[in-house]
Symmetry: C2
Subunit: 244 residues, 2 copies
DNA sequence: CGGGGGTTTGAGTCCGTTCAAAATACGTGG
DNA sequence: CCACGTATTTTGAACGGACTCAAACCCCCG
């Protein structure tokens, strides 16, 4: 845990934010070239291996992170061990800002879901950039507002829809993000996480996920093989999204 | 709906933000006296009657609101009619800013739960204040971050805890907000909403709420009479908050 | 070839729901 | 102030989706 410079790994690459492909997807895109250089100098590149946690509930908030590559799972756990996977962060996503803005300790845990390279930017450096460039503040206001809407959506879907419909919605999100079209109606997607994580994403048990997948195959909606899924008919999947 | 100046009502009071008791509880508390005057001139006082909606899902976002008195219910509804009561806003709360910051239409509906007097501040006026005073931007960043944490909490509790524990948590929130101590262990609270709204707050059915209340009384945790509730032993209620 | 973690299947249970009806509270007009 | 009609709340019985516990299965890797 917390290791980010294993001895037996190749040295971390030097990353320049101004040429980073993640820049245009992140909140930093509103910065001027000079401010990007400032960002680049203040940041620190880190590597995390599958299972490493970047921060944990209760930690003080020292930095925000910008993901260069890999997938990070953001989880909230209660003191009974029940966990919910709140979201998956990927390349170009900025994460870990919530605790900085509310000036509280971390309320959830960030875990590398596979090999992750991310840059850590100290909180004060971010606040300095916001003071220099009000557009960055607005970008974070918009981002937080968007996240809040998504969280409210999750409350609604998790409490009102059966697991099967929630699964359909999740699959549709993966389809929209990046799918390999195989024919006019058929698409193939790569599930970025294990069944266990799928369960935590949908606030259900792994057994229920297995059963739901089996039911989806039985009904000819999709076929699953490991982390590959082939949706037979996207519009049919869309119909599953409301009620089941 | 949308009516806020009924003909048969007394005229709206002239309200001056600088003397408003809600000021110190709202985000506007970071403003200078001159900026408060600016706020006061830009705002418009409105009155809503029980059941009136202040805005609805799908509306464009024109203003943010600052509640002077009364209770407002913020709801999210899906196109099947399933509704969740996301939160109750009361005197001193600012509301309706989420859609402004994300520059999207309203994602939920705000309904007056009883007689409400609130001030509407046009979105552009708020943005002007934020530009004049960066502390206001930070205050909203902190507020949004806090709301996001609360929403994530709700996801966890709604999916992991039984209704009875969720009810205990809600009652505790009311106790902490304002309770009338009757003895060392016994407190009395006023439930600000109907059973139906209680159900929507807990993401359950009214029938389940009635049964849960009956069970709580049977077990001697609390007694209920209309909108009055007497908690026999607060620490006993606290024990109910995790699992049931 | 033999672990071992992750995944799947099976059987039984429980919590909350649904549907329906009774009871209570509420507001209005007489 | 009481009677009435309506809305809200409560109770009852039956159903169902997801959970629990347990065992079998499978695939990857040593």
């Amino acid at each position: 845990m917390y290791r980010h410079v294993p001895l037996d790994e190749p040295p971390l690459p030097e990353l320049d934010c101004s040429t980073c492909p993640a820049l245009s997807m992140s909140e930093w895109r509103v910065l001027t070239p000079a401010q990007v250089k400032q960002l680049s100098q203040a940041k620190e590149v880190r590597r995390y291996r599958r299972g490493d946690s970047m921060y944990r509930q209760g930690d003080p908030c020292k930095s925000v992170y910008c993901i260069h590559s890999g997938t990070v799972a953001i989880r909230r756990t209660d003191h009974h061990g029940n966990a919910v996977l709140l979201e998956l962060k990927q390349a170009g996503d900025v994460m870990g800002y919530r605790a900085c803005f509310s000036r509280t300790e971390r309320h959830n845990t960030a875990t590398a879901s596979d090999e992750v390279i991310a840059c850590a930017l100290p909180g004060p450096a971010m606040f300095a950039l916001i003071n220099d460039n009000p557009m960055l503040g607005h970008a974070f206001l918009a981002r937080l507002a968007h996240e809040l809407a998504r969280a409210h959506d999750a409350i609604l879907t998790h409490t009102q829809l059966p697991v099967r419909a929630r699964m359909a919605r999740l699959l549709m999100r993966f389809v929209e993000r990046r799918s390999l079209p195989r024919s006019s109606t058929e698409v193939q997607i790569h599930l970025p996480v294990s069944r266990h994580d799928l369960a935590e994403l949908l606030a259900a048990r792994p057994e229920t996920i297995a059963r739901t997948i089996a039911a989806l195959e039985r009904d000819g909606v999709a076929t699953f093989s490991g982390r590959m899924a082939t949706i037979a008919n996207v519009s049919q999947l869309r119909d599953e999204m409301d009620c089941g």
